[in-house]
Amino acid sequence: MELVQIQRRLVDYTKSLFMEGFLDAQFLQLQQLQDDSNPDFVFEVVSLFFEDSEKLLNELTIALDQPNVDFKKIDSHVHQLKGSSSSIGAQRVKNACIAFRNYCDVQNIEGCLTCLQQVKQECYLVKNKFETLFRLEQQIMASGGSVPTTELGF
């Protein structure tokens, strides 16, 4: 595939992620922080997020499996996950965390379990999206091209 075509594909793909709510404006902020002196910034932050979220999701699974569920602890973990997902612009993960916290507040275990599944699902989905995004970027770089900046005209 020609360079121009891959670049076009990246632009369209990125736009679709915004349209479908996977990403929000905060992701654009991250992209603004990337430049020649920090060419992998977005990749690094996103990677950190997934390392972090994996740990948190494991802790949450264990915590919800206890005979006496510690809702304070759960809320604390979800709060952390909500924060970091918000910082990278992973909107659907963030929203799933907000719903999760609501069930925590009323100490509804079933609700929490359902939400945990949803958060896991959203993390999985957005991870795949990012992987595709980064792959397209790599293809562009490998072809000697530059990654087009995201401009949202809608």
């Binding site: 905060q26 902020q29 972090d52 924060g83 970091s84 990278i88 612009g89």
Partner: protein
Amino acid sequence: MRTTEKIDGYDLSTSDTEEVHVLAVDDSLVDRKVIERLLRISSCKVTAVDSGRRALQYLGLDEEIQKKETNGFDGLKVDLIITDYCMPGMTGYELLKKVKESSAFREIPVVIMSSENVIARIDRCLEKGAEDFIVKPVKLSDVKRIIDYTTTELREGEQREGARARRRGINKRKQREGDDDLSSSPPSTLSSSTSSSPSSSIQSATAPLSPSTLDSPTRRLKMTSSE
């Protein structure tokens, strides 16, 4: 950002001194990375720590770790503290309190970051002397705004010092102890009464040089010349 000023014959060519040095405090690794980058891109020097406790240690305020009374720590002088509110152990609010209750560091502006946009929380922080409150996620425009007025404050502070020195040329310390209350008064009257705690008067009695006089290299130069 690099300018040369001449005050009283001293060549104040600014290399490190013009760059704002920010102490960033956040327990989240992701947020720390982002805030660090936001600050660096805004031409700041950054020291990022993961807890209020470590922030106090860096400043030399931790009771358990003995540091010299004067600002003689190995690190750079801190011009601004930006801290997350919700942190395990010591919250950003508690860190704010400790900083504002310390005579050595209460003049350092403290900015609080929080994902929760709660009016009561914001008010509490402002009343305790917080400079500003940013709702997360933090944007580049938020950081630029804060750095802009921190730089202006610092520059104005140095210019005020220079003007005073030229006008009076008296013992700077005596002047400053009188002016301090005026120049560093927090926004609300509530906090100005709480900031004059017994501990701050004890500290200025024992320290030959009140640490607040050493908060800029300009002042340091003038102190040594008057002795």
